[in-house]
Symmetry: C2
Subunit: 334 residues, 2 copies
């Protein structure tokens, strides 16, 4: 059996630079028409100029008509003028990392008031605010960090009512409730958070390839995320948060956070939607709700999946993909 799904939007993607970028870009450009490119590269994307150079680097690979939607990282050094320049250069959003919450976030912010001038300009410029929604307070227990961050989200949503805010890669029931509450807030949901709980990271053996930030939570959180994803609520759309790290940076004494799910994205989403809702809302989840929230035209192309067992390879160019060695029920054939 074949199914046609939209070649849509991955609204949250880490591509890195150089060799890793070259290795991974094709997985996304073959499955998605557009992707929102995260700025926490090393060094980070902080200015219009950085974003343009990064876009040029991405486009030099054979990505067909793939469109990277560029972002800059907003730090306490980001001025309103930098926001204006970024907007002119086609940057769609500013990403904020609280300090130290994930890969390359040492330069993240400790106090949101410090970026209020930048946020005000983003609101003026209709540039979106993308939030890694975890408290940076080292005293906050790992499983509570998203919940603790929700009061910051409430402040931001209230203080900037015209600013479109995306709470990225949500993982908890409480985050789903918070997103529903504020008119100017939406959320991305990854494929892996629809599948995993903390049990898949540490419940049996310890599995670094299922380790990401925010970490997968309890079964009831996963259930709520699935409901949000398949419900047809336009506040929830796909952002894969594919985050490649070399195998030896994962399988070591202190492994990096991030799940490389780009190779399996559409087959996995098809499998999840087939199981929990039928395909009814898959196209909306990957090509309508995100585009609408970003104010972009919806993509029109489709891509063909075959219902055919696909054993996921153990690695691609030294990077272990999500579901490595497992068999998916769909594969991309066109």
């Amino acid at each position: 059996m074949k199914i046609a799904v939209k070649k849509g939007d991955d609204m949250h993607l880490h591509l890195r630079r150089g060799q890793i970028l070259r290795s991974v870009i094709g997985f996304t450009s073959s499955q998605f028409k557009r992707a929102v490119i995260m700025p926490n590269t090393g060094p980070p994307i902080l200015t219009a100029k950085d974003a343009v150079a990064y876009r040029d680097e991405i486009m030099q690979y054979q990505v067909g008509d793939f469109q990277p939607l560029m972002t800059i990282q907003v730090t306490d050094c980001t001025t309103p003028a930098m926001i204006e320049e970024a907007k002119e250069a086609g940057v769609v959003a500013g990403k904020v990392y609280p300090q130290g919450v994930t890969t390359n976030s040492q330069n993240g912010i400790a106090n949101f008031k410090a970026i209020y001038p930048a946020l005000r300009e983003m609101q003026n410029q209709q540039m979106l605010l993308l939030l890694h929604g975890e408290s940076p307070d080292p005293e906050v227990f790992c499983l509570d960090r998203e919940e603790v961050f929700l009061s910051t989200l409430a402040n931001l949503a209230g203080d900037f009512p015209e600013l479109k805010i995306v709470l990225e890669h949500i993982t908890t029931e409480k985050a789903v409730l918070a997103v529903k509450k504020f008119e100017n807030v939406a959320a991305t949901i990854t494929a892996h958070h629809l599948l995993l709980t903390l049990d898949d990271v540490i419940g049996n053996l310890i599995s670094p390839h299922n380790f990401c930030k925010p970490i997968a939570k309890r079964p009831e959180d996963r259930w709520t995320l699935r409901q949000a994803a398949i419900s047809g609520n336009p506040k929830f759309f796909y952002g894969g948060d594919s985050a490649p790290h070399a195998k030896e940076m994962k399988e070591c004494s202190n492994g990096c956070a991030g799940i490389f799910n780009a190779p399996v994205a559409l087959p996995l989403l098809a499998q999840i939607f087939a199981k929990y809702s039928g395909f009814s809302f898959l196209n909306d989840f990957i090509s309508k709700f995100g585009a609408d929230f970003y104010g972009l035209p919806q993509t029109k192309e489709t891509i063909i999946l075959a219902e055919k067992d696909w054993p996921v390879p153990n690695e691609y160019d030294g990077i272990v993909p999500f579901m490595a060695g497992k068999t998916l029920r769909y594969q991309v054939i066109d």
Copy 2:
């Protein structure tokens, strides 16, 4: 500064067999006079004969006057006659693993009623019951497994009021409360559970050398464990649960559970007790309460620690110790 502490008892120790046993035995025999040897070797220690052969293997290394206190694993194949034979052979306790809860527990039990005849005989023979206290139900979320097991503990404590039961390597506030509740129940506490929370496993990077079963829990659980350990309550005594695995079995895509803390045991305990209570109850914790509960004479020897920075080696014979690369404030000098 030098301090003398008791050369006491490690009431929970994994030594493995063969090459690993040879590599690790000296760390414990130099710091402890006795240790309770866990039976989940490959193959497991199930009978008096197995236990005697295992003891002989341990004693063939130059362990001085170290005394291994042998255990057998109690499974649903363990008959009362096997218990009687084990007791005659000097086995001090039967260990029960619920099915699949940790390393080499595939043969663990699913239904405790199946071992009631064996438990009755253990009660008759005054052999202790040692419990890995986690629910084997795969539907139970990893962080809830110890708590869910406590109803089983209550049943066992009530059904066998004369059976001495040790809830091993406890990790939660609820377990501490349960242990206090039943007269015939005590508990071991490891050194690493006095130090770690889940944040040290997955809160920043993913750290397989801090991964064990039961996994370290929340800060408030750790606080309660520390209070139990330093309080002088005789129901709580030291069991290190040192569990060596080759480095490549930890730093891989599916790493084994277990923390190899034997090399750092006494220096670390001294550091913890110095910080949280002074040394007042350290000797009781490592040489009195456990011996009393087991009905053994207390050990008399002492061992000298110096207050002197000790950088913990990165590995010993291909096994990464707990606190590798960190600096402890004490070291064993005699």
